[in-house]
């Protein structure tokens, strides 16, 4: 059972269902989607949140082994891990999901209007309706029965009051006699993913939230920016709906505040504020002045620092290092004045048209209540209590945790944790895998359309306002309806939403469509969805064609609406021209070798190996050095005080003792061939080579510590790296015990022009070492010189504890770095205090440098072997999608974990290692994988046997049949890239779905 239908719960459900478990996805509200559904865009890619989430929601909704239980709360949990009895209370929906088609007739007649909670109260809606337009399940509900006229007055008086919704519904879907239900479910494991509550800023009187009309929370601002929000994405301020010229963001509202007991950092607000400011600027017709008031800019995630730099240097967002005391009325109506002290100590007064409060993340109140009922312990801030080494385990065995109820976290971390929690649950229930599945729905019998005249149906998407505000979508629709073979055309607000899928299926039936064209966004994310929709309606999925009128049109021709509309017509006409010539294509299946290869024997790799082995898969674990352990062998304790050495010993012995894991140390990879389900990797160990066959690969080859030349490192033995200092501390060396002054310098080699990224862990590592020094030697003066303290989440507590123990923190700018010198044998550090503007020198006994975490040396080689990208920020591996696929590669069957993905803490490496195992399990669980479709085929009659294609194929998918003297394409390996087609001198090779005649038709349509 997964409790909570946000992105974490959705991901955990999908991973488990794909790995052979039946999943109940329990959601408190009437639809899944969680917070992510309410966001406009997501950082650092600025992807439309709904656009990337919607396919996952739809997948969840249509998965045969996921049962979504809405309006339900978990109230009791009896029994043991593997055999729980869960009690749920489900509130009445008053609408029958089997009958409702979400047509809106009931809502049109309903007389009761309420504040729209999904739109943060910025709009009103009817009491009966969807939680949001793209809701899954797409069934209406009466959201506030206490306000329904019939359910209150009618029931009280026994009279037929109102009931307009019942009269309006043609489907007989409304059931006002629906009652609350209590029921039990037998389950093996529980994953909690209940999410967070937004901090309620009205309690901070000085910001005047609720008093000043143009002070909004960040989540309200997301709705203002959103195309599906109250202002259709038009950036206006609430008081008078005029466009603001100046907007300010105030950070740390409800975070990092001892006064109100929210000492922790909410981890996500710095980056989301940057995102909101960037998007606001994009949405603004006139130049918008944006300022973000912050204390420490915490852009610690993958790609975030580059995003921050872009915000500063390219988009011109102003960053002001100052915490804000209060908001005051400005000189014009409903504007706001901010009085602040900049870091130079100068007091400034600035007026803004609108102020956004970057509210923090609070533990969900309902989750706190649930935790109490099922016996899950909470930490002092009421988030679920976990440890560094068990990041997804709660205090109750068999109950796992992921997402923001574990600690404030961003979407990729939530997704990673969700997969890790799925791995944990999967490991617990390995024996029961496949036993509770619903028989897969019989595939719809495919319609035979061979020889039929093409009947094309066209669906043109507004994508909220992403397309619709630039391209005249109705005009495009009307135009394409006139084209040959088009028998049906319509426009949609979101063509990808669940209700539209039903519409498309309906249209295929009603209009006897045998070709479907969607003109919307990118096939990269959405083609599988529409193909599946076609297949469900009985149409061969390859009879579908996509036109991209967003990326190729509305986004790039934002300023010229007329030309954009014309181009959209042409793009759609192009797709139609091709669709007319499409053939049905069929997939092939291949068997799966149910064993895994894990490359890298560090913490991430070992966790991945152990999870896979416990789930019953054979694992080969390769380690290039002589011993398992990786970087963690040099780490002795965590910031939170846990003993890494003993954890590592335990992990190594568990791995080596596991009969399903074969460990290769001193191993070198010589070659790798194959594809998902069927890889062969050649390994050399001690001069001998061995071939390992496996179905999936986890790349967890770690990272390195930078050897810097800055700050006299290498010239003076008293200057050492953070790990070297940790070694001295762990030894309890006299150097540490007798030191009077120890200085630590952060950001050494990170956040520099030639190495842009933040190494994420160094701030906390310096704090950790500082605290340990104070423990060993309380009288030592410890100085930490930093640029922004990035102790996110609960790590802020330790930053605070270090200050509390007297550790002195001094900030420096990159233009005025500290200077380490040897002054006649004395080691000195020169630094300027930014507040007093005074220069100081510190006589230091030791200097610890928080050096950058480097990518692994051999990432490029490994990347080439497994056909993945290993050149991100100097050699980190690049996952399939930064937001929603953090451990997958674009190449199927290859997964990613640990430092090789980017700098991270031990608990994050553990979670990611386990997440990679969960993702690999979704492959290894299956007996057969499906390939083929839009791939290349060789016409043996035409093939001259020149072998050009064999050497050019980037996926090693073409073999040469010596006997027949022709080339042959392996349909599972082929990605349909077309290289061979272009190269073939005899025109013997054709890419299915991209045949010459089809492409010529497209070109002609463009030129017409």
């Amino acid at each position: 059972m997964v409790v909570g239908g946000g992105i974490a719960g959705v991901q955990a459900s999908l991973d488990l269902a794909e790995a052979g478990y039946y999943v109940y996805l329990v959601e408190r509200s009437s639809a899944i989607g969680g917070t992510m559904a309410a966001l406009d865009k997501t950082f650092p890619t600025n992807d439309c949140s709904m656009c990337i989430l919607s396919p996952k929601l739809v997948e969840c909704g249509r998965h045969p082994n996921i049962e979504i239980v809405t309006l339900a709360s978990l109230v009791d949990l009896q029994g043991e891990p593997g055999n729980f009895k869960a009690t749920l209370i489900q509130a009445p929906r008053y609408v029958d999901g089997d009958k409702c088609v979400a047509c809106g007739d009931c809502a049109a007649k309903c007389p009761v209007k309420i504040s729209d909670e999904f739109n943060e109260g910025l709009a009103i809606k009817k009491i009966i309706g969807n939680k949001y337009a793209q809701a899954v399940p797409n069934t209406y509900a009466i959201s506030h029965p206490e306000k329904c006229l019939y359910l209150t007055k009618g029931v009280q008086t026994g009279k037929e009051v109102c009931k307009l919704c019942v009269k309006a519904c043609n489907k007989d879907a409304i059931n006002l006699n629906d009652k609350e239900k209590t029921f039990n479910l037998d389950i093996g494991a529980v994953i909690l993913a209940p999410g967070f509550d937004e901090f309620e800023p009205a309690s901070l009187k000085s910001f005047g939230y609720g008093v000043y009309k143009n002070v909004v929370t960040s989540i309200e601002f997301e709705r203002i920016l959103s195309a599906s929000g109250p202002f259709s994405g038009h950036l206006v301020r609430p008081s008078d709906h005029t466009e603001p010229k100046k907007v300010a963001w105030i950070q740390c509202v409800g975070s990092r505040d001892r006064r109100i007991g929210c000492n922790y950092c909410s981890s996500v607000c710095c980056t989301y504020a940057i995102k909101e400011a960037m998007i606001a600027k994009e949405h603004s017709a006139t130049p918008l002045d944006t300022a973000i008031f912050f204390m420490d800019m915490r852009t610690y995630g993958k790609g975030f620092e580059a995003y921050y730099n872009r915000a500063q240097n390219e988009t011109g967002i102003r960053f002001v290092r100052s915490r804000i005391f209060e908001l005051a009325p400005g000189s014009t109506e409903d504007s706001l004045k901010i009085r602040y002290s900049d870091e130079d100590g100068e007091i400034k007064n600035e007026e803004f048209d609108m102020v956004v409060l970057s509210v923090g993340l609070q533990p969900s109140k309902s989750a706190i209540e649930m935790a109490g009922k099922i016996g899950v312990e909470l930490n002092k801030y009421n988030f679920a209590d976990t440890t560094n080494f068990t990041p997804v385990e709660t205090s109750r065995s068999g109950v796992f945790i992921c997402g923001a109820f574990q600690s404030p976290m961003d979407i990729p971390t939530s997704v990673m944790q969700a997969s890790a929690a799925a791995a944990a649950a999967g490991t617990l229930l390995a024996e029961a895998r496949g036993t509770a599945l619903k028989a897969a729905a019989e595939p719809t019998v495919e319609l035979d359309v061979a020889g039929e005249e093409p009947r094309v149906g066209v669906f043109v998407c507004n994508c909220g306002i992403n397309i619709g505000s630039v391209v005249s979508v109705p005009e495009v629709r009307d135009y394409v309806a006139t084209l040959p073979n088009v028998v049906y055309a319509e426009e949609n607000l979101y063509t990808c939403s669940s209700d539209t899928q039903d519409k498309i299926k309906e249209a295929i039936k009603t209009h006897k469509l045998n070709r479907v064209v969607v003109s919307a966004c990118t096939p990269r994310t959405h083609e599988p969805l529409f193909r599946a929709t076609c297949a469900e309606a009985g149409l061969n999925p390859y009879l579908f064609e996509f036109g991209n009128i967003r990326e190729h049109c509305s986004w790039v021709h934002m300023k010229d609406k007329e030309a954009a509309t014309q181009k959209a017509k042409e793009i759609t006409a192009r797709a139609i021209a091709k669709a007319r010539l499409l053939d049905p294509l069929h997939t092939v299946t291949i068997g799966v070798n149910k064993s895994a290869l894990v490359i890298g024997g560090g913490i991430a790799g070992m966790n991945a190996a152990l999870d896979l082995a416990t789930q019953g898969f054979e694992v080969s674990l390769l380690e290039k050095s002589d011993a398992l352990g990786g970087m963690a062998r040099r780490i002795h304790f965590t910031l939170e005080g846990m003993n890494v050495t003993s954890y590592l010993e335990g992990l190594v012995s568990a791995v080596t003792a596991n009969p399903k894991i074969k460990v290769y140390t001193g191993a070198q990879i010589k070659d790798a061939v194959g594809y998902v389900g069927n890889f062969t990797t050649t390994v050399e160990v001690g001069g001998k080579t061995e071939e390992i066959n496996h179905g999936a690969v986890v790349i967890a080859i770690g990272g390195r510590e930078l050897k810097t030349t800055e700050y006299m490192y290498g010239q003076d033995a008293r200057v050492m790296t953070g790990l070297e200092l940790e070694e001295e501390i762990a030894k309890g060396s006299d150097k540490v015990k007798n030191a009077k002054n120890i200085v630590m310098i952060n950001c050494v080699g990170s956040r520099e022009p030639d190495r842009v990224y933040c190494s994420r862990v160094c701030c906390s590592e310096s704090v950790k070492n500082a605290l340990k020094v104070k423990e060993l030697n309380p009288d030592a003066n410890v100085y930490v010189l930093y640029r922004d303290m990035r102790t996110y989440g609960f790590k802020e507590d330790y930053y605070e504890a270090a200050r509390g123990k007297g550790v002195m923190f001094l900030r420096f700018d990159p233009g005025n770095k500290p200077v380490v010198a040897n002054d006649g044998g004395k080691l000195t550090v020169a630094v300027t205090d930014p507040i007093l503007k005074e220069a100081f020198t510190i006589d230091a006994d030791m200097v610890g440098l928080a050096v950058a975490t480097l990518p692994p040396e051999d990432s490029k080689g490994i990347a080439q072997l497994y056909k993945v990208t290993g050149e991100y920020e100097g050699g980190f591996f690049l996952e399939a999608h930064m937001k929603l696929r953090p451990v997958d590669f674009a190449t199927d069957g290859v997964f990613l974990a640990g430092l090789a993905h980017g700098p991270k803490f031990i608990e994050e490496s553990i979670a990611q290692g386990r997440a990679a195992a969960a993702r690999a399990a979704t492959v290894l669980t299956k007996d057969q994988l499906v390939g083929g479709g839009a791939v290349a085929k060789v016409d043996k009659e035409k093939c001259s046997g020149c072998r050009v294609c064999v050497t050019l194929c980037p996926y090693n998918a073409i073999t040469f049949l010596e006997e027949e003297n022709v080339a042959e394409v392996n349909e599972v390996l082929c990605k349909g890239c077309g290289t061979c087609v272009a190269a073939c001198p005899s025109k013997a090779t054709q890419a299915m779905g991209f045949k010459d005649e089809q492409i010529f038709a497209e070109i002609e349509a463009f030129l017409a």
């Binding site: 901070l204 009187k205 000085s206 740390c252 990092r256 505040d257 001892r258 006064r259 204390m295 290092r321 100052s322 915490r323 804000i324 005391f325 209060e326 005051a328 009325p329 009085r339 602040y340 002290s341 900049d342 870091e343 100590g345 100068e346 007091i347 009077k740 002054n741 003066n781 605070e800 200050r803 509390g804 123990k805 007297g806 002195m808 020169a830 205090d833 507040i835 007093l836 005074e838 220069a839 100081f840 020198t841 510190i842 006589d843």
Partner: protein, 420 residues
Amino acid sequence: MEAKKLNEVRDPKFRDEIVEKMCFHDDKAKFNLNYCLSCGTCAAGCYFTDLVENHDPRKFMRKIALGLKDEVLNDPFVWLCNMCGRCTMNCPGNIPLANVVRTVRGQFGLTAPGHLQKVAETHMETGNQMAVTEEDFLDTIDWMQEELQEEFGDPNFTIPVNVEGAEILFIAHPREIKYYPEDIKSWTKVMVNAKESWTLCPTAFDVTNFGLFNGRDDEARKIMDFTINEAKRLGVKRIVMTECGHGYWAYKWGQKVWYKEGECPFTFEHFVEYMADLIKTGKIKVDKSKNPQTVTIHDPCNTVRKGGLIEEGRYILENVAENFVDMWPNREYNICCGGGGGALPMGDWVKEARMKKGKLKADQMMATGAEICCAPCHNCYDQLNDINKEYKLGMKIKHLHHLVANALIWEEGTGPKTEE
């Protein structure tokens, strides 16, 4: 300028020393000065940061954080700060800056500039800060009693003095005895109209306590003892005090920090909360048409921000005046008048700064368009009068009891007879 050697100029224990010496009524662990993030909230919260040299609370805290003890002890901020507490209202580190300043003033061997220390010493020597003798006190009370007898047409009217077993001991400001005896009549009328059981005491009548300003807790306790000892002797239950801000806070806070539990078994009521309660409970009845002018109120830091008497003054004015207008910012977010923290007795040294600060208050007052500005605090009252003069505001500065006394509705046969 050559860089200072931090190892030589820094006293790393200084921060902890301040906390150790700090007088608290709360858990000390909550107030760790090391939690300061130098975030700048305080610098923006204080309206004087950019108005007066050496007035940046963040810089002051930063010097403390760095352990620059000598610089801190010689920092003019120590005495320029009015200890109004606004800066750290929203402090994320929960730093009690006003109390830090008080501790540095009093616990590190510093002597207050101007007359501040002298006033405290006079109080300790004579039982009141103006050395008013018992005889002078009684003479003044007799004089006012006579005037009231005439006003009431009641030759037997007495102002109660030294009445053992009275419910309330009323304590005044010695200025009222010495310079503003009309005030005695004003608050006496309120007490009489409410038919309260009360008394004055010639050996314990001073509400003030400059031990709050000079930071010396031993002196503060000695000063407070005069009242406490006499209150015990008289057997009163409640101590009601005239409109004095710092005195009120000294008693309220002092009860917790300078006395052990049970040593000081009285309730302390500022005249504003006391009068608001009289109106609320119907013990006095008032007629707001007696005060037809436009009236505003200044919120004294000690009663409002620290003492929490936020709505009481407004409640009174809404009942006793026809046109009440608020100034902005107000309530706990008020701006200090500029005279707080003992600035007035510090004399010429702070005069210029005091008047610069007062300009903000002058602007606030003028923006209301009021004819009268009430200040339920003697310190503020003086400062507002100085402001009034300096910036030629032409406003009347009053205490609240002036307006209440004027609005009292008397039962038939009681009260002033002059109108008939």
